[in-house]
């Protein structure tokens, strides 16, 4: 199976919704999938921006707390696991990915790699270049500590991947 299809199959298996879009349709797609109020950090991708989407970038603590939705970029997708690599940034990507009820993950098709071996190669390079913090996130926050499986504990209850196709 092609890497992208494997990625999508596994995202679904870990309870992550998927919307495919492209550069032209990106702004409308984000506007359509987010729940208000939404917070986030500006995307590190050329041609993709949250500027016109209604997402509050650089939120205050209160805005962070009250947000229903957080929008951040993923550096990589790992097809075998349906995982995304979320890098922490000085503008607080980790916070927008973690506090709101729903996490909307923006990932480019070209950043999906087949497996952990490939992901660790790329991450290793980036860590040595000074990108120092990342989370391998797979599906929503979960616990079975209260006697059965519950989603949405300290982290998001829902995860939604926006896959931006190669132009």
């Amino acid at each position: 199976m092609a890497t992208l299809e494997t990625f999508e199959t596994n995202l679904e298996a870990v309870r992550t919704r998927i919307t495919r879009t492209n550069t032209a349709g990106f702004t409308d797609t984000i506007a359509a999938v987010i729940d208000d109020p939404a917070v986030g950090v500006e995307l590190p991708f050329e041609d993709l921006s949250l500027a016109e989407t209604g997402v509050v970038c650089n939120p205050t603590p209160t805005q962070l707390r009250e947000a229903a939705c957080g929008v951040t970029a993923a550096t990589l997708g790992v097809a075998d696991y349906g995982s995304v690599i979320l890098e922490s940034t000085p503008d607080g990507a980790e916070l927008s990915a973690l506090f709101p009820e729903t996490h909307v993950i923006v990932i480019r098709e070209s950043d999906v790699v087949p497996d952990m071996t490939a992901a660790f190669e790329t991450m290793g390079e980036r860590f040595r270049e000074g990108r120092n913090d990342a989370v391998i996130a797979t599906g929503p926050s979960a616990t079975a500590d209260m006697g059965e499986l519950v989603h949405g504990v300290h982290g998001p209850r829902e995860t939604h991947a926006i896959i931006v196709e190669d132009d």
Binding site: N58, P59, T60, P61, T62, L64, R65, Y81, S83, S88, T89, P90, D91, G92, A93, E94, L95, L98, M116, T117, F120, E121, M123, G124, F127, R128, N132, D133, A134, V135, I136, A137, T138, G139, P140, S141, A142, T143, A144, D145, M146, G147, E148, L149, V150, G152, V153, H154, G155, P156
Partner: protein, 738 residues
């Protein structure tokens, strides 16, 4: 001693009744999940080997790696403190808490901080400490210790927790479901996290080259604990260091699968603190990123006995442990009682013996070490290939030697020609010297059997030796298997292709001679020239009591007794799986490499051998057409050690070739495990473990089948669990009597 045993039995009975059901459901769920998840990972065995090699290398170069971590973490802007012991670590963290005026401290789950009892140390200084992992939070409210490495509140059901929370928090409306409980805890702990001045985490791994720590979690509490407060302390054992960032990969693939049976947990944080995320001051109205307070990070690397473990040839392997809990989840005894019985001051499950002996001392390990029966089911489940039963055996041996000078009892004097210390527990001494008893038993049978059955002797045996009165004792045969072979009048084959010794293990020789005779007849029918020489017992009995020197003596004798046969090209065929496992696995530790290899390479479990003969052209029709009094449908329970060695399928294949329909059990162990089920303090646990097997063989699909098992203890256990008389599979295939 009798009083100690009664007390231990009472404690186990209590845990079986109160926590057993919840532990069993969860641990078995994790265990089933692990089998499924690792089966999906194509490179599973390769990753295990890589993980093992990385850990071996890391522990060997640990002093250098500690220095490298210090350099990289300091270059990242953090501080490293190498703490000698618990008190030293606690003092350091208390100082950080005091310097940062930390009124509220939030923690993510960390067994290492449990080990040093950090919460108590911080609370004594006036900080409020909150466990943010939900399982740990439940325990904090209940004032209990974890019962499991990964899922600390595994012993509590949803209903239980609801009751606890409703009482403790006096909520307006009663909480009931897991969802309600989770929502409540999220809100409650969310307040604490927003307030927190200091966040404390553990670390699953720390990489020396980048100063990155990996935190394997699912809830997101560790991420918040790191992100929100501006000061972060991580407490990690020195053994958590691995050389490079890329070395994390095999562990990321293995740890979730090995633990809770998830391919990967929701979050694997890879942080090189101080992290780049800006801290959040929830009292401020400024945008978060515009107010980046300086972050502070302290990595406390804990020795607390670990550097001594590194120097200890037997305990060193413990340091490779990644605390995944696979050894606990795959352990039949753990599945019944959980970590409140099968655990020491901090750590739980099979590997806990190594940890407790290393960090808290032998006394803590002695509390629960006997719950490891050496069944070896955990061995293949460990993602870093630690020989966990061996660590348990070695620690048991050390505990045996640490006892006071004990009394020698009339009943066992003369029955115990071993090299063990006088203070050794009489029960262990008795079971460890079973070979002497068996010889005497056969020599004096049937008198020995009548004597042992009389109630005054059973009372005395229970009182003095702790042999439970509810167990049937083995009945010794007057004519041993070796004597039968010597006395029978059958000419040896002169032009056989195969020559084999059938090893007269203790039980086959003295108690279940019929299976030895069936094995000889079967092999001869398939064209093998058989010998049954008088060979020493394997040493399994003393080894399982932790009598390593005595077991090594047996191993030497066996090697000497078989030497001439091996040199003459004989194979060695072993009926009792636990003895076969001795030759294959434990003799590696007890004999020279050359001696072990020559025996291990040439010895076969009896069905493995028969399968090989049939594959190489032996005529199966020699074994057909006998009326053996069995149904065509078989329920087969393989022996735990046989399964660890991957040998179960040979028995199944041969039986199926003979047109039996075979249903196999899938429990980890029958619960008898040699002497374990005879011991009065463990009788009820043994029966509880056994009940899982009993239930499988009482299902409608299995209830009418002839029950078959390979191990002596399994047969005894099945005999007590079922009304059907179980049999050894060799009695189902022996040739028709002419």
């Amino acid at each position: 001693m009798a009083a100690d045993r009664a007390q231990k039995a009472e404690r186990i009975r209590h845990l079986l009744a109160t926590e057993g059901a919840s532990v069993e459901e969860n641990a078995r769920g994790f265990n089933d999940g692990r089998y499924e998840s690792v089966a999906r990972l194509e490179e599973y065995e390769d990753y295990k080997d890589r993980a093992r090699a990385i850990k071996e290398d890391a522990i060997e170069h640990l002093p250098d790696l500690i220095e490298q971590v210090r350099e990289t973490v300091e270059a990242n802007g953090g501080t490293v403190y190498l703490a000698e012991d618990a008190a030293d670590a606690n003092r350091y963290v208390r100082e950080v808490a005091s310097d940062t005026e930390a009124d509220t401290v939030v923690k993510s789950k960390s067994m290492t901080t449990e080990e040093i009892e950090l919460n108590e140390a911080l609370e004594a200084e006036g900080s409020e400490v909150w466990e943010t992992d939900l399982g740990e939070f439940v325990l904090q409210v209940a004032e209990e210790a974890p019962s499991h490495l990964v899922a600390p509140a595994i012993h509590r059901s949803c209903e239980d927790i609801a009751h606890l929370f409703n009482e403790h928090f006096d909520t307006d409306e009663d909480l009931e479901t897991a969802q309600e409980l989770t929502d409540f805890a999220r809100e409650y702990l969310g307040d604490q996290i927003r307030e927190a001045d200091l966040g404390i985490t553990g670390a699953n791994f720390v990489t020396a080259d980048t100063g990155t720590m990996a935190l394997v979690t699912s809830e997101g509490n560790a991420r918040k604990t790191v992100a929100v407060p501006d000061t972060h302390v991580a407490v990690a054992g020195v053994e958590k260091i691995i050389p490079t960032f890329e070395d994390l990969q095999p562990f990321v693939e293995l740890i979730g699968r090995s633990g809770t049976g998830q391919d990967i947990t929701s979050y694997v944080s890879l942080f090189s603190p101080p992290v780049s995320t800006p801290p959040v001051d929830f009292e401020s109205d400024e945008p978060i990123a515009d107010d980046p307070d300086d972050r502070e990070f302290h990595l406390v690397l804990l020795d607390n006995g670990r550097m001594d473990m590194r120097e200890d040839d037997q305990l060193r392997e413990t340091l490779y442990c990644i605390r995944c809990s696979a050894c606990a989840n795959s352990c039949a005894n753990f599945q019944s009682v959980g970590g409140h019985a099968f655990g020491g001051e901090t750590y739980t499950g099979g590997i806990a013996t190594g940890w407790e002996a290393g960090v808290h001392g032998q006394d803590s390990a002695a509390e629960f070490n006997d719950l490891c029966t050496g069944c070896s089911r955990c061995v293949n489940q460990c993602p870093v290939n630690i020989d966990i039963p061996w660590i348990n055996t070695v620690v048991r041996d050390r505990i045996n030697h640490s006892g006071e000078d004990g009394q020698f009892d009339f009943l066992v004097e003369g029955l115990t020609p071993d090299a063990e210390p006088a203070g050794l527990d009489l029960q262990k001494r008795f079971f460890g010297n079973f070979s002497t008893l068996a010889k005497l038993g056969s020599a004096t049978a049937p008198l020995s059997n009548w004597g042992a059955d009389l109630s005054p002797s059973r009372w005395l045996m229970e009182r003095v030796l702790g042999i439970d009165r509810r167990r049937e004792l083995p009945r010794f045969e007057r004519e041993t298997f070796v004597e039968w072979f010597r006395n029978r009048d059958v000419p040896r084959s002169v032009d056989a292709d195969y020559h084999a010794v059938v090893y007269p293990d203790l039980y086959t020789n003295h108690v279940r001679t019929e299976r030895g005779k069936a094995a000889v007849r079967t092999l001869e029918a398939l064209g093998v020239a058989v010998e049954v020489p008088d060979v020493a017992s394997s040493g399994r009995a003393p080894l399982s009591q932790g009598m390593v020197d005595t077991a090594a003596g047996h191993a030497d004798e066996v090697a000497a007794d078989l030497e001439s046969y091996l040199e003459a090209g004989y194979d060695v065929v072993v009926i009792e799986p636990s003895d076969h496992a001795m030759f294959q696995r434990e003799y590696e530790k007890l004999l020279s490499e050359e001696q072990h290899e020559s025996l291990a390479d040439r010895s076969y479990e009896v069905f493995e051998y028969i399968y090989g003969l049939l594959e190489n052209g032996a005529d199966i029709s020699e074994l057909r057409n006998a009326d053996r009094g069995a149904t065509e449908e078989i329920a087969y329970h393989s022996h735990c050690q046989q399964r660890t060695l991957g040998l179960e399928s040979y028995t199944t294949a041969v039986l199926e070739d003979l047109e039996y329909d075979v249903l196999t059990s899938d429990v980890e162990c029958c619960g008898m495990a040699g002497s374990f089920g005879y011991k009065s303090e463990y009788y009820e646990l043994s029966m509880d473990v056994g009940s899982r097997l009993g239930e499988q063989f009482e299902t409608p699909e299995a209830a009418d089948r002839t029950v078959v098992a390979s191990g002596t203890s399994c047969l005894e256990q099945l005999d007590s669990l079922l009304t059907r008389q179980p049999r050894h599979p060799i009695t189902l295939i022996e040739p028709p009597k002419s």
